[in-house]
Symmetry: C2
Subunit: 256 residues, 2 copies
Amino acid sequence: MAIIISICNQKGGVGKTTTSVNLAACLAAAEKRTLLLDLDPQANATTGVGFNKSEIKRSSYQALIGKDSIESSVLKTEMNYLSLVPSQSALVGAELELVGIVSRETRLKNCIKPIINQYDYIIIDCPPSLGLLTLNALTATNYVIIPVQCEYYAMEGLADLKRTIYLVKQRLNPSLEIKGIVLTMFDSRNNLAHQVSEELRKHFNEVVFNVVIPRNVRLSEAPSYGKPIILYDVKSKGAQSYFELAKEVLKQDFEV
Amino acid sequence: MAIIISICNQKGGVGKTTTSVNLAACLAAAEKRTLLLDLDPQANATTGVGFNKSEIKRSSYQALIGKDSIESSVLKTEMNYLSLVPSQSALVGAELELVGIVSRETRLKNCIKPIINQYDYIIIDCPPSLGLLTLNALTATNYVIIPVQCEYYAMEGLADLKRTIYLVKQRLNPSLEIKGIVLTMFDSRNNLAHQVSEELRKHFNEVVFNVVIPRNVRLSEAPSYGKPIILYDVKSKGAQSYFELAKEVLKQDFEV
Ligand SMILES: Nc1ncnc2c1ncn2[C@@H]1O[C@H](COP(=O)(O)OP(=O)(O)OP(=O)(O)O)[C@@H](O)[C@H]1O
Ligand SMILES: Nc1ncnc2c1ncn2[C@@H]1O[C@H](COP(=O)(O)OP(=O)(O)OP(=O)(O)O)[C@@H](O)[C@H]1O
Ligand SMILES: [Mg+2]
Ligand SMILES: [Mg+2]
C-alpha cells in the first residue's frame, strides 16, 4: 500500500515542483517504487522528468473528469523505479468542470485506489492555489510536505494553508498529517533567511525537517535537461540535500 | 480615464506582487493618481503596502460577488497618490462562487467602471493561475505586463499565457494588449539567466522592457516593513530599476 505525500503551498515559486521531482527521484534511487503525480496545469514536474507537455495524450486531467483510468496515463521515466502521471494545460479547465459534480473533492482519491498497491510512494505536485485541484490532493493524501522559501511573503501564507489542511482533515480526510516543512532556496549570506528560519522553527517546531535545501543554481539548470538533480549533477549541494530529505522521510516511515 | 494594467503570469513566484507594488508606488511618486488592486487571495500586495490582511473588512471579494461597491473598500496608503483595493482569504471562494453566474468574466470590469475617472492608473496584482480571477483581470484591463524570472520553468509557461491572452482578446476584450515582459530577479553571474534573457528577446522581441530588475535582497526585505522599495531604501538597485520601469511605462503612454 503506497504512502501518498502531497507537496503543497499556495505561495508561488517556493520549490514545490523541484521538491516533488527530486524527492521522488531520490526515493526511486533507494529502490522504492515511486509514482510522481503532476497535478499542476503548468506541467512543470512532467517537464522536469524529461517529457514534453505538448506531446502528452493522457494525463491526470482525464482521470479527474472520469474519461480514463489514471493507470492508462502512467509513463515510465529514465529511472527504473520512477513513473509519472503527467499533466497538461487542459487541467486548468478541471477546476471549473468539477465544481458542479457531486463528491468533487474525492475524485483523485477514487482514481488512485486501483493503483495504490503497485507503488511504495506516490508524490503529488500541487499548483500554487487552494482550489479544487489542491483540495483533491489533500483529500487523497496521507501526508503533506510544505516547501517554504525563507522570504517574508512565503511566511504569511502558512496560516491559511494550515487552516485549509485542518478543515480537510476534519471533513474529508481524518488521517491527513503534516509530514514536515522543508526550507528551500536558503542563502546563508542573507539575514532575512536566518530570521525566517528561526521564526518557522519557533512556530512550527515539531515539523521542520533538519535538512535545509540551499539555493543552488544546478537545481534550476536541471529542468532544462529534463533530469532530476541526481541524474544531472549528483555531486551538487542540491542533490546532496534532496538525498538527505529522502533519508529523513524514509526514517520517519520505516522507524516509527 | 484610468489606464488599467494587469500584472499577470500563472507561474508562481516570478515577481508579480513585487512588480505591482513597486510600479504602483513609482507611478504615485510621479504624481499619477494610482490605485493598486489586489486580486490574489494571498493578499501579498495588501501586506506590501502596510496593511494587515486579517484586519481587512471590505475587499475585492465583496465587489466581485456583488455585495459592495469597489469604492467602499478603497484604502489610502502612506503615499499621497497611492490607494489600495485590498484582498482577503475569502477571495479563494470567489472562483467557485462566480462559476454559476452569467457574465462571470466581466464582474471586475463592471466593478471598476464607476471609479475609472478617479485615477490615472489602476494596477492589478493577479494570482498565480489562469482561473476566473485572472480572467476577470484580463477582461477588465487595457494592458498586461508579464514578469518573467530568468529560469527554465518560467519560460515554459509563456506559451500558455499568450494563448489565454489571445483568447480573451478575441472573445471578451478586443482592446487588450501586452504592454511588455519584464525580466525579474536577474543574477548577472548566472549563465542560465543570460540564456533565458536572450531566448526571450528573440521570441518576444517587440515587447521586452529595456530595464531588467536585478535580484536585490532589499526588495525581499521591504514587504516585512509594509513599504514599497522607494520608501524602504530609495538608493537600492531594486528601487532604481523600478523607477526605470515606471519611466518606460509612462513614456509609452504619453509619447505615442
Ligand atoms: N534550491 C534551489 N536553488 C535554486 N533554484 C531553485 C531551487 N529550488 C527551486 N529553484 C528554481 O526556482 C524556481 C521555482 O521553483 P519551483 O518551480 O520548483 O517552485 P514551485 O513552488 O513549484 O512554483 P509554482 O508555484 O509555479 O508551482 C524554478 O525555476 C526552480 O528551478
Ligand atoms: N528582484 C528581486 N530580488 C530579490 N527578491 C525578489 C525580487 N523580486 C521578488 N523577490 C522576492 O521573491 C519572492 C517572490 O516574489 P513575489 O511574491 O513578488 O512573486 P509573485 O509572482 O507575486 O508570487 P505569487 O505567484 O505567489 O503571487 C518574494 O519573497 C519577493 O520578496
Ligand atoms: Mg510547481
Ligand atoms: Mg503575488
